[in-house]
């Protein structure tokens, strides 16, 4: 069936290939037509427009693409080329569709071929929008069909596209077939016949290609269905052919009848007019004859001509002719003499005679015969006239012409309107009369759809297709040709007897077919509907057939399955029966063989013990297990080989067994190997003494020495672990992750107060040791991390006391199960101690705070005291100084030198004391002052201070270097004081130096302050000098109040400056220190906490 399926697919592929090639072939033929200049190749029929070169090209592309893609496998590059060609073609089509829809016609589409003109009033040479649309559909359809998509919907869409292409092409073909091609005569370019055919082929190719994808054949169904499908398709084709041909024939019949009717109409109208025209002409001749050879008239004219003064003759003539003119509706009546001079005219008009007229007159005079002139135009008044010229014969001499009577007819008055008139309402029907003039046809009357044709519109005889030309060239009767507008018409042509005129009665074919075309559309839709209907009914039948087929299939499959089940059951019974019978028959030998083989190949050793307790059989495995060959074993007593320690229990068991025929037991004992070593055996011993074929005690044994050893080791290790577990000082519990406790140790029991029995099988939260939430959290973390370490937790024991424990948990695996191993360290006591320490610490801190407050208060008091003391000391001091001064000044003469000296000492000391007091005051002021923080520009401040201190330097040459100093947050007046003190010190202690050098700068270093553990970077400001320096031994004394390292004689000062500096820096929370060396200079550094920086 699979093979069949392949053939089916192959057949369709072949079909697609064939139609692809056909499509391309039509394109190639059309293109050849263009190349070779044989347009019929591109149009198939001269009445139809040819396929545009671009269309031809697209057909070739699509045809080739279809061919390539069906001929080659998907991996082949030809296949890919095909896809690319098709994609590009589709895009081009889409572009062309839009262009042509908007009436844009690219010259590029002509491929350089000469394309011009209209065929049957229809433009060509460019692709039709409809064709372009079909190409887009076909392209999409093809591309979808080639996509690997399994989506049935997509494939259905592709199928619908292809189907639509076929439908459109069929309609187009039908249109061509019915001779009224779609879109002909409109501003759109219609698809050519060849195009329609090629589109049809392309559609077929696509359908052939897509069908198997839409209805993927179930291989099972094909063979049976294909035949009926073919029949159905044939039925459909026959039906379709029938419908189409019936429709065609009906339409053709209709058309023929209709046309015949129209032809008849044309003919009758034309005939009517010819008759009338002939009659008119005859009338004219009759009128002329009235005067021709009329002796009365001739005499009268003769009289008049010969004697101008013959008024009577003139009057008679006038009366006669005037009557005649009115009665016969002549436009003008003239009397001319042989010289052509108008002797008499009615009405008399000043318009001169046209030259044509004069020529005709002289011709008439010469011939002496009645002449009916053709239509002519008087060049003076631009009117068209006809003239009947009657020669007036000499009454005396019949051969001589005396003059000419001219009867002028104005065709406008009757003739033209008569010619133009049409008995039925029609837009395009009309009659016209023409005559030949040289190599042209001249239109004699005004035509409906063209202006100023009368006597001025000429068509060359070369244009043989034009109805008028045909008429002039002698064609008569109904013809199909084109008229002066190049529109296809149905015309009736005939020469008007006895005249140079030809009548052309015509009607536009479009008008003829207009009602027919409506009917055609109805026909086509009817046919399409019928086709669709028949197609649907065929499809329905096909579907039903399929359904029935599947149903039958399904039913037969059901039946088959049922019978199969039955069969199987029967079979089973049979098998059972056979097996039973076999057993019943007792194929003893086979059985024996089988069982022997089983025994001999079994990994376990098997031995049989006779009633006498001796071995009667030993399986080959015995040798492997015990080193004893079966032969050696026979006749041996196993008791001799059993370990003495194990013999007793074994014998007891054996004795018991002997009492129980058919019974068995399993035991373990040691047995001596041939090499003397003891092997642990596990034996299953069965009493089969009563079994007729065995009659023995059966030992089924295996060596379990290794296992025994492993068990022993395991047991030992377990024992060890168990010991550790139980005696461990750490409380341990093993529980499942869900909760129930599996094992606990002594310590846990003593910790929680629960006994082992109380705990095992219960979870810790059930026991109230821990709450559920906490346990859940623990298990969650355990699952996540695998272990928990040293988590502090509160447990509640059996009696409700709380224990603080450090808990560690591990996820372990015991006997293949996940278990939580939990260890607890009771740290309740530690915790209590910690809390006690904490409490004590707090107390201590509290005390420190209190003490500090007390201290501070005392300090303050002291401060206030020292302040007021200093302050109050100033008064008496001033008095001492003042009055000793007054003594020295006012009583200088009464004092001796010693007195003066002593007074001076008093004075100096009071001043010194004053200085000390001032210093104490300022020092204490620093202590009492509140700090107001602000950002200080240290560089600027330093420079300010330096410029203030300039006066202190007494014009000494000091090199002062101020390095980069970062800003700081501090109390500006205090820091200013610090700088003043440090810098004035530096200036002071360098005054013995010739090249005094002072440097102010800032270093950045990692904080060495123990209070600050952040490891931050701090700024260390320093003031360095190369002055006298100091001994580092006394460095700690530098910052004390009134501490001095130099004598007053060396350097003045009270020693308060650095104390103030220290006080300020301390107040800011910074540090200050000094480094120095005697005679080498000193460096004072300080930090301020506000300048800590992140590293």
């Amino acid at each position: 069936m699979g093979k069949n399926d392949k053939e089916e697919t192959g057949r369709e592929t072949l079909l697609a290939q064939l139609f692809g090639l056909l499509t391309a072939g039509i394109g190639i033929i059309a293109l050849l037509g263009w190349i070779l200049g044989i347009p019929v190749l591109a149009s198939f029929s001269s009445g139809f427009i040819p396929m545009a070169p671009s269309t031809a090209f697209l057909f070739i592309s699509f045809g080739v693409a279809v061919f390539l893609c069906t001929r080659f496998p998907k991996t082949n590059r030809f296949y890919k080329t095909g896809i690319i060609i098709c994609s590009v073609g589709t895009l081009i089509s889409l572009l062309l569709f839009f262009l042509s829809s908007f009436g844009i016609r690219l010259a590029a589409e002509h491929f350089g071929f000469k394309v011009e003109g209209l065929i049957a009033g229809t433009p060509f040479g460019n692709i039709s929008p409809l064709t372009a649309f079909c190409f887009v559909l076909a392209g999409l359809s093809f591309l979808i069909s080639q996509s690997s998509s399994k989506q049935q919907k997509l494939m259905s869409a592709a199928f619908s596209f292809a189907f639509l292409v076929i439908l459109i092409s069929i309609i187009l073909l039908l249109n061509h077939l019915f001779g009224t091609p779609l879109l002909y005569g409109t501003q759109f370019i219609p698809p050519a016949l060849s195009t329609s055919l090629a589109l049809f082929f392309l559609g077929i190719a696509l359908i052939a290609l897509i069908t198997p994808k839409v209805w993927q054949y179930n291989s099972e169904t094909d063979a049976a269905l294909t035949r009926s499908s073919i029949i159905l398709i044939s039925v459909f084709i026959v039906l379709a052919a029938g419908i189409i041909s019936a429709g065609y024939l009906y339409y053709m019949q209709n058309e023929k009848e209709y046309r015949l009717q129209k032809e008849r109409e044309l003919f009758s109208v034309a005939d009517l007019k010819i008759n009338e025209l002939t009659r008119i002409r005859k009338e004219w001749v009759a009128d002329a004859s009235l005067f021709y050879d009329n002796s009365a008239f001739s005499t009268l004219v003769d009289d008049y001509f010969n004697n101008q003064k013959d008024f009577e003759a003139q009057r008679q003539l006038r009366t006669w002719l005037s009557h005649f003119k009115t009665a016969h509706e002549y436009n003008k009546v003239r009397l001319l003499d042989t010289k052509g001079v108008v002797r008499f005219a009615l009405p008399d008009s000043p318009v001169p005679n046209s030259s044509f007229f004069e020529n005709k007159v002289s011709e008439t005079i010469k011939s002496g015969k009645i002449t009916i002139t053709d239509f002519y135009r008087n060049e003076y008044d631009q009117h068209i006239y006809l003239n009947i010229l009657v020669p007036i014969l000499d009454p005396k001499n019949n051969k001589r012409v005396n003059g000419v009577l001219s009867l002028r007819i104005d065709p406008e008055s009757y003739l033209y309107s008569y010619i133009r008139s049409w008995p039925t309402p029609s837009k395009t029907s009309e009659t016209m009369i023409v005559r030949r003039e040289g190599d042209d046809v001249l239109y004699l009357n005004e035509v409906k759809l063209k202006k100023n044709t009368a006597l001025s519109y000429r068509v060359s005889l070369q244009n043989k297709n034009i109805a008028a030309v045909k008429a002039v060239l002698g064609k008569e009767g109904i013809v199909e040709s084109i008229d002066y507008k190049n529109v296809p018409v149905l015309a009736y042509l005939q020469k008007i007897p006895n005249s140079p005129w030809f009548i052309v009665a015509k009607i536009d074919l479009a008008e003829v077919y207009a009602p027919l075309r409506e009917r055609l559309w109805m026909m086509i839709f009817l046919i399409a509907a019928l086709l669709f209907g028949s197609g649907t009914s065929v499809a329905v039948v096909w579907r039903q057939q399929r359904a029935r087929f599947y149903k039958e299939r399904f039913q037969s499959a059901e039946t088959l399955r049922d019978s199969y089940t039955l069969l199987e059951k029967a079979n089973e019974g049979l098998h059972r029966e056979i097996a039973e019978r076999k057993r019943a028959e007792g194929a003893l030998v086979d059985s024996e063989k089988r069982f022997r083989a089983l025994i001999e190949n079994a990994p376990d050793g098997i031995s049989l013990l006779g009633v006498d307790g001796k071995i009667v059989y030993a399986s080959p495995s015995t040798q492997r297990i015990l080193g004893i060959t079966p032969e050696e074993a026979i006749g041996k007593d196993p008791k001799d080989y059993t370990h003495p320690d194990d013999l007793e229990p074994l014998l007891t068991l054996l004795n018991d067994l002997l009492q129980k025929p058919g019974g068995s037991f399993t035991t373990q004992y040691r047995f001596r190997n041939k090499d003397g070593s003891w092997r642990w055996l596990e034996s299953t011993v069965s009493n089969l003494l009563n079994e007729s074929f065995v009659e023995a005690i059966v030992f089924n044994f295996r060596d379990i020495t290794e296992r025994k050893l492993a068990e022993e080791t395991l047991r030992e290790s377990e024992e060890r672990f168990s010991k550790v577990f139980h005696v461990s000082h750490t409380a341990i519990a093993i529980a499942t992750l869900e909760g129930p406790i599996v094992d606990v140790n002594e310590r846990l029991m003593s910790l929680t107060g629960f006994s082992k029995e109380e705990m095992i099988g219960h979870s810790s939260f059930e026991l109230g040791i821990i709450n559920l939430d906490a346990r859940e959290r623990l298990v969650q973390q355990l699952r996540k991390d695998g272990s928990i370490r040293d988590m502090e937790l509160e447990l509640r024991d059996k009696y409700g006391s709380t224990h603080v424990v450090l808990l560690s948990m591990h996820l372990i695996e015991l006997a293949g199960e996940k278990r939580a191993l939990t260890m607890f360290h009771d740290i309740t006591d530690r915790k209590l101690t910690e809390e006690e320490i904490h409490r004590l610490n707090e107390e201590l801190e509290q005390r420190v705070v209190q003490r500090t407050a007390q201290l501070e208060a005392t300090n303050k008091e002291l401060e206030a005291f020292s302040y007021s003391v200093s302050h109050d000391l100033r008064g008496p001091l001033r008095a001492i100084d003042g009055f000793s001064r007054i003594l020295l000044r006012d009583y200088i003469n009464t004092l001796d030198d010693e007195g003066k000296r002593l007074l001076n000492i008093v004075s100096i000391n009071t001043r010194k004391m004053g200085q000390l007091i001032d210093d104490i005051l300022s020092f204490s002021r620093v202590g009492r002052k509140e700090i107001g923080l602000s950002e200080i520009n240290m560089e600027k401040l330093t420079k300010d201070v330096l410029s203030e201190l300039k006066s202190d330097s007494d014009g000494r040459k000091i090199k002062i270097e101020v390095k980069l100093l970062p800003n700081v947050h501090a109390d500006v007046s205090m820091i200013r004081q610090v700088l003043v003190n440090l810098l004035s010190n530096a200036i002071k202690f360098t005054n013995t130096r010739a090249g005094a050098l002072i440097e102010v700068g800032c270093n950045t270093s990692i904080s060495s302050d123990k209070r600050d553990k952040s490891g931050l970077v701090e700024n260390v400001y320093y003031v360095k000098d190369n002055g006298v320096g100091f001994d580092m031994t006394y460095a700690n004394k530098l910052f004390g109040v009134f501490q001095r390292l130099h004598g007053v004689e060396e350097f003045d000062g009270t020693g308060i400056g650095l104390a103030i500096v220290k006080r300020v820096i301390d107040k800011h929370g910074g540090r200050v220190w000094a480094e120095g060396k005697v005679n080498e200079g000193a460096m004072f550094s300080f930090t301020l906490p506000g300048v800590l920086l992140k590293k």
Partner: protein, 147 residues
């Protein structure tokens, strides 16, 4: 007490300081018409012609008041406040002369409208120099507003 114009009112409780000040002023011939009030109350009595000084014309103002701050009875700042609060007396120049170097005293004094604040130095030379300069300035160089 005569009715002639008192030029300086010295308010000082410490007789030594007072003597030194008067001496210093005398050296510059500025102490000819000087009244010494030994406490704040006396000073106020003098200025506003009350108590012991009730016979005085209240419009006979001293040209300069040298005022100590630490005074018995009425504190110097209180005296200053009263002087500067009274329309009649507020134009009298008041120079605080004190041994205090307290910032708050200085600030308070200036708030109350003191004309100068001077710390009395311990050194007599400087004291003399200072007192004489103050007297010179306020009595001779300064031009009071025309009444």
């Amino acid at each position: 007490m005569n009715t002639e114009q008192i030029e300086i009112l010295l308010v000082e409780d410490n007789p030594n300081d007072a003597e030194l000040a008067i001496r210093a002023l005398k050296e510059r011939n500025l102490a000819n018409n000087l009244v010494w009030a030994k406490d704040g109350a006396e000073a106020l009595d003098f200025i506003f012609a009350k108590g012991a000084y009730a016979h005085r014309s209240p419009n006979n103002h001293p040209k300069l008041i040298l005022l100590d701050l630490r005074l018995p009875k009425v504190d110097g700042l209180e005296v200053l406040k009263k002087i500067k609060a009274d329309e009649r007396t507020k134009e009298i120049p008041v120079v605080v002369m004190t041994s205090s170097t307290e910032d708050k005293d200085i600030v308070e004094s200036y708030k109350l409208g003191v004309n100068s604040f001077i710390s009395k130095p311990v050194s007599f030379d400087e004291f003399v120099k200072m007192v004489s300069e103050v007297g010179l300035y306020w009595l001779l160089l300064n031009r009071p507003p025309v009444a």
